[in-house]
């Protein structure tokens, strides 16, 4: 059981079952107040959009890499005015290479027990976080703020 903030209790047995030696959730926090952005493949949000690549068969041996593969990439919006900057960055990142791969961005606010967030900034994206979904995660645990087509809406 992970305790992170008042009245938040989540199970992550799926996350640990095959790599009990790696503490992927070190430095993670729950967050039910901020808005996050996730690049998705289509105009409608699906559970697949929050599947991680470790469960898809991607392999690694180092714990920090395993932790990266077991979460999904999101960006945190500190302020409402960051939205345009983040969406432009996503548009640039995916570059219109494919119409079927990460051509949309979903803005959402997590609800209680959706999962935990770890701040994992990169050189290109200072707002980058890794989102670890809890065992009971489903799309109803996200408040969808909006879904934007990166080519036509940004």
């Amino acid at each position: 059981m992970i305790y992170c903030a008042t009245e938040l209790f989540m199970d992550f047995s799926k996350l640990f079952h095959d790599t009990p030696h790696c503490d992927c959730l070190e430095d993670c926090c729950a967050d039910c107040s901020n808005i996050y952005v996730r690049a998705i493949d289509g105009p409608e949000l699906k559970m697949e959009d929050f599947h991680n690549y470790w469960d898809g068969g991607r392999t690694a041996t180092q714990c920090d890499t395993i932790a990266k593969f077991k979460g999904v990439s999101v960006s945190k919006l500190e302020f409402e005015e960051d939205k345009i900057e983040v969406l432009l960055k996503y548009k640039q990142q995916f570059g219109g290479v494919s119409r079927n791969y990460k051509g949309y961005a979903c803005l959402f606010r997590p609800k209680t027990n959706a999962g935990l967030f770890k701040y994992t900034p990169s050189k290109e994206n200072k707002r980058h976080h890794t989102f670890y979904t809890s065992d009971i995660f489903n799309l109803q645990q996200l408040e969808i703020i909006g879904i934007f087509n990166l080519q036509t809406d940004v």
Binding site: G56, R58, S73, V97, S98, R99
Partner: protein, 434 residues
């Protein structure tokens, strides 16, 4: 995913092996990359889609001729046309570890429109980490059989060393020496790797940060080899004002700044102009003599990454001379003196700028200056002094969004035109609110 054709046979290794992988775009997965196949052909990979049900990715793997690759890397051809003009186009299926599990040869016309890249999809700006090792390849004629005339090879090597020397001649005031070495490269036409070793860089009071020299060097070579011939500029003055040269100049100023070496912007511009001119002249001479060579008819340049992979920079053939010649007609670069500042603000004033490049540690940047409310603008330098971190700040905001912002600084003018703005932030000024 649409139904893939199953009737065509592909030679194993032609498209399923990517060597010299250079990932241009990625998020959690590779989106766009270049490399070579097992036979040494240039290959471009671009994601089509992911399929979580089958746990696979679909990618285009396009074998392309050198001119097509460099047109794509130079943003002169979009990704869609690059795929259309590829020599061999395939769709490969990989698992989530990028292991190829299937592939199919396909004609461009067989691909449904919804599976093609957008018309607006061009190669993005490629992040360069900087390199001190470059692979110089002779191409065509006998070189394709891995042999060249001894005299011609020696002459080509000497010329390329001169280009490297002229790139670093811009730093002759800094306390370091450079030595040039050749070392064997991988097979494939006739290749030589040039390695530059920076010596005694820590002898001075303030050591020279070689990472920034490497970054400058790669930008410089990228420009003189691959971008200069294709720019619209018709005079050396326009060349110097181009975004690419301003970016190189910024990188050079950063080297001086990191070395705690005082910089005179006019002097830096003058020495950079001479170096670019000299490098271009050497490449032009090489290009003009290509027709006379028995062993090769063009050459290619790549930067060698620390992991021994390579990033293609450009290809030079006889057309380089024709394209570059008009840009160096004027005697501008022979002028000993440059324009001097004739006017500067006594007190800070409000100015509108849009930042286009910015080093947060040194506070040096380039920006578009908007003298009035219209869209008219011209490039200037900005110099920001601040006791607090400039990351984040109004400058990074303007750069990232991008957006026009109002700043307060002292403008310096030449012939009445603002050329640079110096901004001095006191500790109590909130950089976010300006």
């Amino acid at each position: 995913m649409f139904d893939l054709p199953r009737h065509k046979i592909i030679v194993p290794g032609l498209v399923d092996t990517v060597e010299n992988l250079h990932v241009i775009l990625e998020d959690e997965n590779r989106i766009l990359y270049t490399g070579t196949n097992r036979l040494g052909n240039h290959l471009i990979g671009a994601i089509i889609q992911q399929d979580f049900s089958n746990k696979v990715f679909y990618y285009y793997h396009a074998i392309v001729e050198s001119p097509i690759l460099y047109d794509f890397l130079g943003k002169r051809m979009n990704l869609k046309d690059t795929l259309r003009n590829s020599s061999i186009l395939t769709i490969v299926t990989t698992d989530f570890n990028y292991k190829v599990i299937d592939y199919a040869l396909i004609n461009f016309e067989e691909i449904p429109e919804e599976y093609l890249p957008y018309e607006t999809s061009f190669c993005p700006d490629i992040a360069r980490s900087g390199s001190f090792e470059y692979c110089f390849s002779l191409k065509g004629k006998a070189s394709d059989e891995h042999k060249v005339d001894v005299g011609e090879a020696g002459e080509a090597d000497n010329k390329f060393q001169k280009i490297l020397e002229s790139a670093l001649a811009t730093m002759k005031d800094l306390p370091f020496n450079s030595e040039y070495f050749k070392r064997p490269a991988m097979a494939g036409s006739y290749k030589t790797n040039f390695l530059i070793e920076i010596k005694d860089s820590d002898n001075g009071l303030f050591p020279v940060d070689t990472n920034f020299i490497a970054e400058y060097l790669e930008k410089y070579l990228d420009y003189v080899v691959a971008k200069l011939p294709f720019g619209d500029e018709t005079t050396i003055e326009q060349v110097l004002k181009s975004n690419e040269v301003q970016d190189i100049k910024l990188a050079l100023e950063e080297v001086y700044y990191r070395s705690q070496h005082s910089t005179d912007e006019d002097k830096i511009e003058a020495v950079l102009a001479k170096s670019i001119h000299h490098s271009a002249q050497v490449i032009k001479q090489m290009a003009e003599s290509l027709n006379e060579k028995r062993s090769f008819d063009r050459f290619e340049l790549s930067a060698v990454n620390p992991d021994a992979t390579q990033r293609e920079i450009g290809q030079v053939d006889i057309t380089y001379a024709i394209k570059v010649e008009p840009k160096f007609q004027s005697d501008f670069i022979n002028q000993e003196t440059f324009e001097k500042v004739v006017e500067a603000d006594a007190v800070p004033k409000a100015y509108r700028i849009q930042v286009r490049g910015f080093y947060v540690k040194s506070g040096i940047g380039i920006a578009d200056f908007y003298p009035d409310a219209s869209d008219e603008h011209h490039p200037i330098r900005i110099y920001v002094a601040s006791a607090v971190s400039l990351q984040p700040s109004v400058y990074t905001k303007s750069l990232n969004e991008p957006s026009i912002v109002t700043i307060f600084g002292k403008a310096e003018r030449i012939n009445g035109k603002v050329k640079r703005i110096r901004i001095d932030h006191a500790d109590n000024i909130d950089l976010h609110l300006i």
